[in-house]
Symmetry: C2
Subunit: 116 residues, 2 copies
DNA sequence: CTTTTATATGAACAATTAATCATATGATAA
DNA sequence: TTATCATATGATTAATTGTTCATATAAAAG
């Protein structure tokens, strides 16, 4: 009898898993956050901002690409409440608003090096 | 003189940020992992599997939806090397292959509760 | 061998997303 | 006020993604 046939064990696990399962709303919120950081260019923006606030022009320099594209990406990150912007004269300075996300990206970066 | 005009400070930050910037390849790999877990249904599968391996049928029960959809989602997760499958008789048992990702989803879940 | 069970796959379509271009806004300087 | 600089926005189009349905495969049972 293989493990796969031990129905009892699986049913038990299934019940346990369902008990700790986040709600649909929580899953959607988590997914939305992950989606915001699931594009190389947006991740790059986050790493650029992890040292402190920067104006759009400098973000463009850091990530490459054109101003409009970066602005749209910033909008996406802002909508996910990962970054925030404040006006200072003609410029708008962006900074990280959710440091948990930085923790997560840093973790992910470290994990790249080890063989899972 | 506002902070935004302190060009020196920004240039310094920019230089620092670029120094610690992951390579394009690393950014793509990280983004791919995040993308794999950026859909509520796939996240749900991960939480279901966090208690141990389950066959597809049970995963379908845990997440709802039809068999084909779940199979496609498992394929996506497998391609991102987040889960793995092993055959056991007629069934295929899936389990987490990258526990770092679970660490990250657990973190994200906890962070939902606090006000960033 | 044929049937049944468990899972995977491919094609087709809809929905979402990203990139680009042109233009708009808002702040400052002249 | 007008011109300029910094950034945002909307429309368009291209690419990617998710879902469904029908079918294929692989193992086991009969």
């Amino acid at each position: 009898m293989t493990a796969c046939n031990r129905e009892e064990l699986h049913e038990e696990r299934l019940k346990e898993a369902l008990k700790n399962m986040p709600t649909d709303g929580q899953l959607e919120e988590m997914a939305a956050r992950f989606k915001a950081i699931s594009e190389p260019s947006r991740l790059k923006i986050l790493f650029a901002l992890s040292g402190g606030e920067l104006c759009v022009e400098h973000i463009v320099q850091a990530v490459g690409g054109n101003q409009s594209a970066v602005s749209h990406q910033l909008k996406t990150l802002k909508a996910a409440r990962v970054v925030k912007g404040r006006r200072a004269g003609k410029k708008i300075l962006y900074s990280i608003s959710d440091w948990h996300v930085i923790t997560i990206t840093e973790l992910a970066k470290e994990h790249l090096n080890c063989d899972e």
